[in-house]
Symmetry: C2
Subunit: 150 residues, 2 copies
């Protein structure tokens, strides 16, 4: 699996928030209901995004979470790294320590190129573009596809 489940949940929630033009706070309860993700689990994941200032959170009535900056200033890579870390882009594909330093593994060259492709894909696409794409194409970020873009 390329991305952990936590990471996928974080991405889906971030896309939801990015579709919210005016950046109002959205409660995690609402997010978890719309996206069909366990409330408490989603809460913990979003806390990670809040911790690295990708999200802002507000407690109390009418509270919730929102993007900390415009959706076109947050790349998919930002979210992925915040949750899964950058091991995918740093570590040897064969799990050997010190990827690329001194003796690399036989797969190093081909893997370095490919992980560059993955990184570029995540880095050149931002939350707003993806949310727009989802809205315009009536695409889905839930299993049932019953999610309504706002």
């Amino acid at each position: 699996m390329l991305l952990s489940k936590s990471c996928v949940y974080g991405l889906r929630a971030s896309l939801f928030l990015a579709s919210n033009q005016n950046s109002e706070y959205v409660s995690i309860k609402e997010l978890s209901k719309q996206l069909d993700i366990s409330f408490h689990f989603l809460t913990k994941i979003l806390q990670q995004l809040t911790a690295v200032d990708l999200l802002k959170s507000l407690k109390g009535p009418n509270g919730g979470v929102r993007l900390s900056k415009p959706g076109d200033e947050i790349t998919l890579l930002d979210v992925v790294v915040a949750i899964d870390g950058d091991d995918l882009f740093q570590e040897c594909v064969l799990g050997l320590p010190g990827c690329g330093r001194e003796k690399p593994c036989p797969l190093h060259n081909i893997w370095a190129a490919t992980r560059g492709d993955i990184r570029e894909m995540l880095e050149t696409n931002n939350l707003l573009d993806m949310a727009k794409k989802g809205k315009e194409g009536n695409l889905r970020i839930t299993a049932k596809g019953d999610f309504e873009w706002v």
Copy 2:
């Protein structure tokens, strides 16, 4: 993590076997010692490769495992799919069911391209080429790098 630990162990063992020109049986004990991988765990992983006829195994004294065909006829993808399955190349990157059918997710297009890159990298490289590369460049398939190509 792109590949599971089982998959990585299977790949490293396969590269070792591919470096064995004459395709003699190598005992799993020897493999596990050379590659510094738990013997019993490696045994189970190699059983998976034997089950799909990538390896042949022989019990008893002088027994062990060997590639079932020349190393240039087994791609990295063959080994990866045998152990990790082809979920990586089939499933939605956001974990939604039925990737690409009817309503795709907003990341589908960019992900389809990238997973094609990954697949191509694994498909266009075979065990023999990688083993040759390892031998000629004195590269490593163990953590310490103390492995000696034969």
